[in-house]
Amino acid sequence: MNATPTASAIVRASLVDRLQSEVERTIQRNLKGFEYIGSPAPDVGTTPKTVLHRRGTLSLYHYHAVAEEVYRVPILLVMAPTNKAFIFDLAPGQSLIEYLLARGHDVYVMDWYAPSRAEAHLALENYTLDFIPDCVRRVQEDSGVEDVTVVGYCAGGLMSTIYAALYPDGPLKNLVCFTTPIDFSKMDLFRKMADPSRFDVEKTVDSLGIIPAEMVINSFNMLRPMSEAASQVRLWDNLWNDQYVKSFRRMERWGAETLPLPGGYFRQTTRELLQKNALYENRLTVGGRQVDLARIKVPLLSIVAQYDHIVPPACARPLVERVGSRDKEEVVLPGGHVSIVAGPNAVKRMWPKLDQWLQERSI
């Protein structure tokens, strides 16, 4: 007797299985939906650390080493002032910091709190001529090592790059930039939003002082207007999946904790970078000093996200072309602006590449 099932019978059986699985998921969705509503926000940034320094909006952390032996050169991660640095340390297994510690690096992080009214004047001068050099000095003191590697993410990368150009004689040992904007003419939508013929940045800053976090969030959301709604639909679809929900909530918390920006910084970045593209055109001055990227001579690693909608590759790629370093490398990896640092692909691709690059330059 021939027992081979027909193609239509296989399809039918498969559909029945899928239906059964969907019914089970629907039950789980309903049960876990209540849990979701009632449960507190997930813990983030749990890797043990010591607060080395606090000054207004600035915090400097030192993460506790886990390896028996660490590389000589410490790493200072610089976060963008729009967001909290716990994106580097979302959860065990999803933490760049945990990964770097396990691979034998000594890690320090510059994080930000919401600026107070008294800090509304803060501008690039404060970040690149005061905060970063001050933190580098503290890292030197704490580690007892003169050399420091600076790793900046997004606007943190921008500030680190400006710092590197303004302090070409050290003590910077290596510079690593993740998705760092250089040619702002390639940020089409942000430039449209900041068009001087329609957007009066002076008036906005003068009336607000501090740029509210909602305005920062809205400007990012406008780049992908449907993604917020689609992510909620996907959350509902995956409510049965604890791992998905936890991961979603951590990222959601990070997005929700977007920080307000000091008006001075917003004014300067809008006018000088978005409207005039002064950094790319070699006309940016910070504290009266010209920011010339060709003065950067330290080894450079630039990591660019292939599908970045905030800092498109064309905006980030000129960094490697412009610096004067002989030892420089650009890596374009598949991923978006955030997933390149904290997504599943980061674990597989970006982190090992970063570790591999740093190892031989950290001895």
Partner: protein
């Protein structure tokens, strides 16, 4: 013969959501590129911010008149307190810090260390250097 036709309605629904998202995002970003839409959005945003500012000012005056702090002031006070607490923590004897491990800074890269790195398409990226040479060390010294 295997067929690539997807008959799973749940998968089809998920694909439809992804396609809708992509289409709407594209439409949204295309509209933002048009002068009229970006101008209108900016005007809405400016008016809304100005209204918010005026409202905040009026509320602040009202709270001042009835001798009460505004939410903003309470939040700023809480921030200040948090910062004072952080400073106090740093001023206290650093007993727990003594227990933080301070390993020797003698680690060297292992030449045969396994790596999971799988680079994406990047025609411009040079091959990674295997080890630093004496020439590279000299270059670094010169650069510094």
């Amino acid at each position: 013969m295997a067929t690539s036709l997807n008959l799973d309605p749940f998968d089809m629904w998920r694909q439809a959501v992804a396609q809708l998202e992509e289409g709407m995002n594209m439409l949204g970003t295309q509209s933002l590129k048009s002068d009229e839409v970006s101008k209108t959005l900016l005007e809405i945003s400016t008016v809304s911010l100005q209204m918010q500012h005026v409202l905040e000012k009026a509320l602040s005056k009202y709270f001042k008149a009835i001798n009460l702090p505004s939410r903003q002031e309470v939040s700023e006070l809480a921030d200040t307190l948090r910062r004072i607490e952080d400073k106090l923590d740093q001023l206290l004897p650093a007993a727990p810090q003594a227990n933080i491990p301070r390993p020797a800074r003698t680690r060297r890269p292992k030449p045969d260390a396994p790596t999971q790195f799988a680079p994406g398409p990047n025609p411009r990226a040079p091959e990674p250097k295997p080890r630093r040479t004496a020439g590279a060390k000299r270059m670094r010294k010169e650069a510094r």
